[in-house]
């Protein structure tokens, strides 16, 4: 039974998404509970699969019994299992959040909306589990297409942002597919394990290097790496408040995970010559993105745009860790990736909450709003500590491991960039905090409405996740090291 878990985790949201039009046709109000139940089931299954993977070791699932390299393989190591658990957990929280926010009712559009949300989550889990480069392409495209449609839901300005996102994203997937084509032409293989055995002799080949660079360009667009980030701030500030947490927390992170898989599981970092140049390139882009993204975030007056640029700078931090070609850096980067998913999700939950409840979407409006909501303030403090990187949170331990990785690789510039990003992040979070807790007259706080329970539950769970990932960092990092150990770094 346990060996089928990875397939079931993926099929639960997919099957629900496909049957959604039938189930919700007559009663659109049923869509939200159905979606919530489906993702709850998926969470239970993914926790079970995480437990099974951590006890019995990785699961390699072959669909219909066709063994790789001929068949399609699902690679569920502890990295994939942890990531899927985070994806499904955040999916549940985002649906709860949408429930409590009381966003504009969707009416007849509820059916397509929740179908898209479920397809997004299914695509994310597929991209995490997929064991060959071509299926990763297919699932990245499932994720992206749902994301374009979800960004466009409010209409008006969001339509233009969604169209720009679509143009950039579709070019990105075209480049990624081109890179996959180069790899296939050079090796005749697409399966990750198969490729890693055929590549070592071919690293001097121009086709392999060209393919790697095309894949990097394609994934860089999708992960909003610094010079190619143009689509992200507009898309995230115009998308519906109840959807952004899901997009911001997960969509860009998947491309980062895929890139780490390609660099470490397909290529071998210990190999000679050409690969080291690629790792140096990745580190350089990481340094650029982390520092410049943080500086741009400091300049923003609008909360959602500030958080979006914060996310762009954190993509750079993860890439710095990935680019160090040692185990400390890689496991630190993957651990930071999990934390960043949770933190970005919480940031946009907060931004959506403040905008809808207090009408505060810029820093100045926030200063005038006199927010006296303990739930929002506690969540903000926890996320702020995590984003800046202070001890009780997971953000601290992730940054620490990335920093240790850079020092292990004697890369002082990268280490300096991590520290500098931390300081600038502290700068913009201090700004928001100052506005949030600014002392106001008590009369303003008298008529503040009660926070509905789904909102309180979402915020409490997010704070618990941020702090919990920090407290049990040894165990989580241990799981990730289990996944990276077979690479023999």
């Amino acid at each position: 039974m346990t060996e089928h878990l990875p397939a079931l985790v993926f099929l639960t949201p997919l099957a629900t998404a496909i049957s959604m039009p039938v189930a919700g046709h007559r009663r659109p109000a049923l869509c939200r509970p159905i979606a919530l139940i489906a993702i709850c089931c998926m969470t239970v299954l993914s926790v079970a699969s995480l437990w099974s993977v951590s006890v019995h070791g990785e699961i390699r699932y072959s669909f219909s019994g066709w063994l790789p390299p001929i068949g399609i393989e699902w690679l569920a190591d502890s990295l994939a299992a942890t990531m899927v658990t985070v994806v499904s957990g955040l999916g549940v929280l985002c649906l709860l959040f949408a429930d409590g926010l009381g966003d504009r009712p969707l009416g007849g559009r509820a059916v397509p909306y929740y179908t898209m949300v479920l397809l997004l989550v299914a695509g994310l889990s597929g991209a995490i589990y997929a064991g060959d480069l071509f299926n990763i392409f297919v699932f990245l495209e499932v994720v992206s297409l749902s994301a374009y449609a979800l960004v466009a839901v409010p209409g008006g300005r969001a339509l233009v942002s969604a169209f720009r996102y679509l143009l950039m994203g579709a070019l990105g997937t075209a480049f990624y597919l081109l890179g996959v084509g180069y790899f296939y032409a050079a090796t005749g293989a697409l399966n990750i394990a198969d490729l890693s055995q055929r590549l070592p002799g071919l690293l001097d080949s121009k086709a392999v290097m060209g393919g790697l660079i095309f894949m990097f360009i394609g994934l860089a667009i999708k992960m909003a790496l610094m010079p190619l980030h143009g689509w992200l701030p507009d898309a995230y500030s115009d998308a519906p408040a109840s959807t952004v947490p899901l997009l911001a927390g997960l969509v860009t992170k998947i491309s980062l995970l895929v890139w780490a898989r390609i660099l470490y599981w397909v290529m071998q970092p210990s190999a000679d010559g050409g690969t080291l140049t690629i790792f140096a390139l990745v580190t350089t882009f990481g340094i650029l993105a982390s520092v410049a993204g943080a500086c741009l975030a400091l300049r923003q007056r609008e909360l959602k745009r500030m958080f979006a640029y914060g996310g762009i700078s954190h993509v750079g931090l993860v890439l710095i860790g990935v680019g160090q070609a040692n185990e400390t850096g890689l496991s630190g980067a993957m651990y930071y990736l999990l934390n960043d998913a949770v933190m970005q999700c919480s940031l946009f939950v907060l931004a959506g909450f403040l905008a809808l409840r207090y009408g505060a979407s810029t820093l100045d409006e926030l200063g005038r709003a006199h927010v006296r909501n303990p739930w929002a303030i506690v969540t903000f403090v926890a996320v702020g500590l995590g984003m800046v990187g202070l001890p009780p949170t997971g953000g601290f331990f992730g940054k620490l491991r990335i920093l240790l990785g850079t020092l292990e690789a004697d890369n002082n510039i990268a280490a300096a960039a991590v520290v500098l990003t931390t300081l600038i992040t502290l700068g913009y979070f201090a700004q928001v905090f100052e506005k949030l807790v600014r002392a106001g007259s008590d009369s303003a706080s008298a008529h503040q409405p009660e926070t509905p329970w789904p909102l309180r539950a979402t915020m409490a769970a997010l704070v618990a996740a941020i702090v919990g990932l920090g407290i049990w960092n040894d165990q989580v990092v241990g799981l990730l090291v289990d996944a990276t150990a077979p690479l023999g770094m």
Binding site: F134, E141, L167, G181
Partner: protein, 125 residues
């Protein structure tokens, strides 16, 4: 340099692929009309599909279906079917992208009454 050109001329398919790719990118970047941008995007995606099909092509080879005989098939006599299977999936993905993008464009047109990027941005303010 001369050798590079000679090597390229022996593979006219790849020259066509590069030209299509660059042409599509040029259209996507320079044109201000949303539909023309989509045409450019479609050409880029088609060029990648063309490249995938090219990698599977072989001279004097036939469809990879073994009829009757029991003798072991020679790899030289059959084309590689995998690139074409990948191409089919990629075409499906391309059509899905086109559908979503045309849906977005038609909603932009109904909302702003224009398909020109400058005019739409002007109306957004």
């Amino acid at each position: 340099m001369l050798e590079l050109i000679e090597a390229a001329l022996r593979r006219p398919n790849l020259i066509a692929f590069v030209l299509l790719l660059l042409w599509g990118l040029y259209i996507t970047i320079t044109h201000h009309n949303y539909v023309k941008k989509l045409v450019g995007l479609y050409i880029v995606q088609t060029s990648v599909i063309f490249f995938l099909v090219t990698t599977g092509a072989k001279e004097d080879a036939t469809v990879p279906v073994i009829l009757g005989g029991v003798e072991a098939p020679g790899a030289d006599d059959y084309v590689n079917p995998l690139p074409q299977v990948l191409t089919l999936t990629a075409i499906v993905v391309q059509i899905a992208t086109l559908g979503v993008s045309l849906g977005l464009v038609s909603r932009i047109y109904r909302r702003f009454g224009s398909l020109d990027e400058d005019e739409v941005l002007e109306k957004l303010g």
